[in-house]
Amino acid sequence: MSESGPGALAGLRVLDLTGHRAQLCARLLGDMGADVIKVEPPSGDDARRIGPFLDDLPHRDRSLFFWFYNLNKRSLTLDLKHSRGADILLQLARSADVVIESFAPGTMDQLGLGWDVLHRENPALVLCSIAPFGQTGPYRDYIADDTVLTALGGMLYVNGFPNHAPVRPLGLQAYHSSAYFGAIAVMLALLARDRTSEGQWIDLSMQEATAAAVEHVAGGYFERNEAEPRRGTLHWSRFFRVGKCRDGYIMHCTLGDWTSLIEWVKSDGKAADLDDPNYQQPMYRYLMAEHVFEVLDGWVKDYPRDELLERAQLLRQPYATVRPPEALFDDEQLIDRGFFVDVEHPELGRRFRYPGAPYLFNGTPWRVTRRPPLVGEHSGEILRDDLAMAPEAIAVLAAEGVI
């Protein structure tokens, strides 16, 4: 699909056993060149049943939810509940570097694939277990979806307006922060292995990953013994708030060069008392935030938002327009940096535009090497090439429903 030099993680083999909650983790590694094998049950991964679907036609090979998280992976179907299936996984684990799983705690042990077994079979293997509450503690066996995790991780309470219900984050951010921490933990364990030759077991709690991804709440408590409230669109720092323009919303910011901002507002005749020298001090603007934004709201209300943005950024004011995500696909900056990648889906005779990775590595660029796999698309080749299985043996596994 792309001309590929080896990625930074070329040569690493990752077995991805995760269900829909943790699939971004292995994708982050696959994007950097690791060989990721997505191990799914013969009926297909649970993510394949989650929409949206291509052209809104539900089918396990048309789930955009699955596509997003499974680019750059191969698929092996394997019934891990079947002893032959677990045995095959163990054989693959002997030559793998990393196994990532997100089963309920204890499941890997029940499958005969617990840490003790994996570590004995392959002492260099890193096992990353991603569970809603981790592998220990009173909530260990509790269940959660992303919304429940954002609640228990403190990410939900602080968004929205006082006296209204909290507003949920866009996207599955409890899952996404957990995936990033998972990939970071895997890389740390791999780097440690350079010295020790030993793999490690990573016990990642999604609740904790969510709590770690909230900027200000812990600080608010440990500094002032307070629960940070919901403040509407006023950022907790009190230097940002949403304002309404003639044709939509913008994000104000009072952390840019104050003098040039106020000269502009004054030249529009809308500065009120904001030219008072006291406002030069960020701390004064912090204290007076509600008033400052009220005056600035009055100033922007007749501006078209795109014009405001262009002029603000020319003056190096960190203003932004409040845009829908559709705008990203026309964003010249993202297009110019090659953030979007067109990925061929040959079986459909179509190509689709995917969002890419957030970094450009000048030595080992991020690459799309594979479109998301069809269910079990690579089962045969993996068993044949990696485990040297005979075609007859593979046929028997298929007939028995193991693959």
Partner: protein, 402 residues
């Protein structure tokens, strides 16, 4: 203390505000020696020994170098020559102006890894845009689609974009380090915080590009398969407390879950109404369903509602505020998620922990955050090997602040 994964790795850290410090903090927690270079009078952001600033700068050293002074820059270049990774979150021109950009540094350290975590990236027509987390959240869709039911934008109450930028920065550093250990080659990573937060919007992006669908605020509709009831429901205050801002999040999916849910809340009459018989009908009639569920939750504390539902195998959780999270949550407490750190004078506080444990016993919050320039003697004396008189002379010359 046992060995940590990044023992022996040194990072020269020019980052500031939030995203960059989050990245280098993660590396510092796992053994890297992070030398934070800053100016003597950074904009006041709060007490380094407490709260957010301690969270951001713990497990690091601080030295105050005057980068407007040629000898300050020279010290920075000498530090870079003995570092593995140099990280910043400036726009492209700043490091270039100092001669601290990747090309310049390869002259003093051929296998250096440079990670620049700017707002919109070093290339492209808008690389000069100035941005903070909320700016990027507005540009990417979070502010608009995290909305009230009537469509009024609410957005995040904080800078989630900075966290995304920080995590991808830490990951990029580790990946580049892995690659260098195998090939001997360093590289330059041009990270865009804008792209970091845009990329984690998730599958909705493909719904736009593949299906051409305009996204509307999802509210509490499940984004991971159909579910109803699904959302947050108002609860009563805890006994002896008058805080009424109490909510429980509940997610009920398939038929068996619904039946367990109904039993758990005492099989109220409304639950047998035909309009709630199937998941499809429950979603169609979700407003009425939610009103009924709220009539149950308002009779319970969020903690009780969560316990009752979890016992029945239903995903439910308290919408935790800062006090719940940091002082009450039994799970976080049991797992030691808020470790204690102390100042040299023995004043203690708690900071945010590390959300994963390695069986080899590694990551830890190693030291409380340093004051600006606190590690002057160590960095100039031990790392750079400058004697007392040389250090005094550099201070007198204004190249460095003690």
């Amino acid at each position: 203390m046992c060995a940590m994964p990044l023992d022996g790795v040194r990072i020269l850290d020019f980052t500031w505000v939030v995203a960059g410090p989050v990245a280098t903090r993660i590396l510092g927690d796992h053994g890297a020696q992070v030398v934070k270079v800053e100016r003597k009078d950074p904009p006041p952001m709060g007490n380094r020994k407490l709260g957010l600033q301690c969270d951001l700068h713990r497990s690091k050293l601080s030295v105050a170098l005057n980068m407007q002074h040629p000898r300050g820059v020279e010290l920075a270049r000498r530090l870079a020559a003995m570092s593995d990774i140099v990280m910043d979150n400036f726009s492209a021109r700043v490091m270039r102006m100092w001669g601290m950009d990747y090309e310049s540094l390869t002259a003093v350290k051929p296998d250096i890894i440079c990670i620049s975590m700017s707002g919109l990236g070093h290339t492209g027509p808008r690389s000069s845009y100035v941005s903070y987390g909320p700016t990027l959240q507005a540009l990417t869709g979070y502010t608009q689609l995290m909305a009230e039911p009537d469509g009024t934008p609410a957005g995040y109450g904080y800078s989630y974009a900075d966290m995304c930028g920080g995590y991808s920065g830490a990951l990029a550093a580790l990946v580049a380090l892995w690659h260098r250990r195998r090939t001997g080659k360093g590289q330059f990573v041009d990270l865009s915080q804008f792209e970091a937060v845009a990329s984690v919007i998730g599958p909705a992006l493909l719904d736009i590009s593949v299906n051409g669908r305009t996204q509307s605020p999802p509210g509490y509709n499940s984004q991971e398969g159909p579910a109803a009831p699904h959302g947050v429901y108002k609860c009563r205050a805890l006994d002896g407390d008058n805080d009424n801002d109490r909510w429980v999040a509940i997610s009920v999916g398939t038929g068996p879950e619904w039946r367990r849910f109904v039993t758990a809340i005492g099989s109220p009459e409304w639950a047998s109404d035909a309009k709630f018989r199937t998941l499809y009908l429950r979603m169609q009639n979700s407003a009425e369903l939610d009103a009924n569920v709220s009539r149950w939750t308002i009779e319970h504390s969020a903690e009780d509602a969560m316990a009752v539902l979890q016992r029945a195998g239903i995903a439910a959780g308290v919408v935790e505020n800062g006090v719940d999270l940091c002082a009450r949550d039994p799970q976080l407490k049991e797992r030691g998620f808020w470790p204690e750190v102390s100042t040299k004078k023995g004043v203690t506080t708690h900071v945010t922990g590390i959300p994963f444990k390695l069986s080899g016993g590694s990551g830890a919050v190693r030291t409380i955050a340093p004051e600006v320039g606190e590690d002057f003697d160590y960095v100039l004396g031990e790392l750079l090997g400058l004697g007392k008189s040389e250090r005094d002379e550099l201070v007198a010359d204004g190249a460095v602040w003690p």
